[in-house]
């Protein structure tokens, strides 16, 4: 006699019923090659996601009672796969931002929402920006940026050096660790980070749903948030002495000289200011 433990993972009645219904639906159309092809494609897609779920969130997988058969909110996928989407959204990056109101959405390829300000079509609300970001806009939308700086800090354009049309090449050199360079590359959408360089005006990049891509986008999302956090240092310095900091920023843009403002080191907590 075979003993079945009370804690056996034998699926409940509802789950077995869902499985039976799926099987019967399949049997009714099983000799249609195209239907069979679509079914196999769906099974493979879901099995790949179950593998990812187990590897990325083993504790949640073990605890999960979400159905492997019933369709979830995103109806192309089972409840269990929907659970994975929500876990990625909650723990890795905002996966569902573009898809909240679209139950028919597919995730085999997906786009990510830009985190940066869209300078080309979006109306810019300076009051909502980090002050360092708003200051750096003197190079991109000068009239509005100077209005903001004048209103906020009583700074006048005529008190500062003329801004050259093309920035010094040092601005684009990410290796020197300059915090001003980090700021300017962020505003220019030239960081190399997809969360910071994309905007709503250009065609979205599409990402494949696989482990490497999810891990890569997670790391880039963390890095993007760190970039914004690093700007807090600059914000404090601008608040303390806006004229000096703006002059340093314009000097860096024009000549490539940076006044020792380098990124906080990741290995030590010391700020190199």
């Amino acid at each position: 006699m075979q003993f079945i433990s009370p804690s056996s993972s034998r699926p409940g009645f509802g789950e077995r019923l869902s499985r039976s219904l799926e099987y019967l639906t399949f049997k009714a159309r099983s000799h249609n090659a195209v239907t069979a092809f679509e079914l196999v494609e769906r099974v493979i897609s879901e099995q790949r996601k179950y593998l990812m779920y187990r590897e990325m969130f083993p504790r949640e997988w073990k605890r999960s009672r979400a159905s492997l058969y019933r369709r979830g909110y995103y109806e192309r996928y089972s409840e269990r796969v929907n659970e994975l989407f929500n876990l990625v959204n909650d723990n890795c990056f905002p996966l569902l931002e573009f898809a909240y109101d679209d139950p028919e959405n597919e995730f085999e390829q997906f786009a990510i929402p830009p985190m940066n300000v869209d300078l080309c079509c979006e109306e810019i609300y300076f009051e909502n920006l980090k002050v360092s970001y708003a200051a750096a806009l003197v190079f991109y939308v000068p009239d509005e940026a100077w209005d903001f700086l004048n209103h906020r800090f009583k700074l006048s354009r005529s008190d500062f050096p003329e801004i050259v049309a093309d920035p010094h090449p040092n601005v684009w050199d990410g290796k020197n660790g300059s915090l001003l360079g980090e700021l300017l590359r962020l505003v220019d959408h030239s960081t190399g980070n997809p969360w910071l360089d994309s905007n709503y005006c250009q065609t979205a990049d599409w990402y494949n749903w696989d482990r490497e891509t999810i891990a890569g986008l997670t790391a880039e999302y963390e890095a993007a948030n760190e970039v914004f956090e690093k700007l807090n240092v600059l914000d404090e310095m601008i608040e303390a002495d806006p004229g000096k900091m703006l002059r340093a920023l314009i000097d860096f843009w024009n000549t490539g000289k940076y006044p020792g403002l380098v990124l906080p080191s990741t290995s030590t907590s010391e700020n190199h200011l």
């Binding site: 090659a33 069979a36 092809f37 079914l39 099974v43 493979i44 179950y50």
Partner: protein
Amino acid sequence: MNRETPLDRLIRETERVNPAILLAEEFMRRGAADLLSAEEIDRAAEVLNDARAEIETIRRQIAAFVRSPPSASSRTPIGF
């Protein structure tokens, strides 16, 4: 002169059940909770490519058959 008709060529084609149908049957009998390994998924993806190729081939054959010129039959079907 080659007197082979499109229908002759179709009849001569190798006949088999599309592998997607066999694999779908296998998947349906297996519970989704019995997870496939990465290797099994890769093998299934290969079968899927094979199945897709066969579906495309049949679609092309149907299109070619529809386009082929009519030819007189040696016998008149009953009812005509």
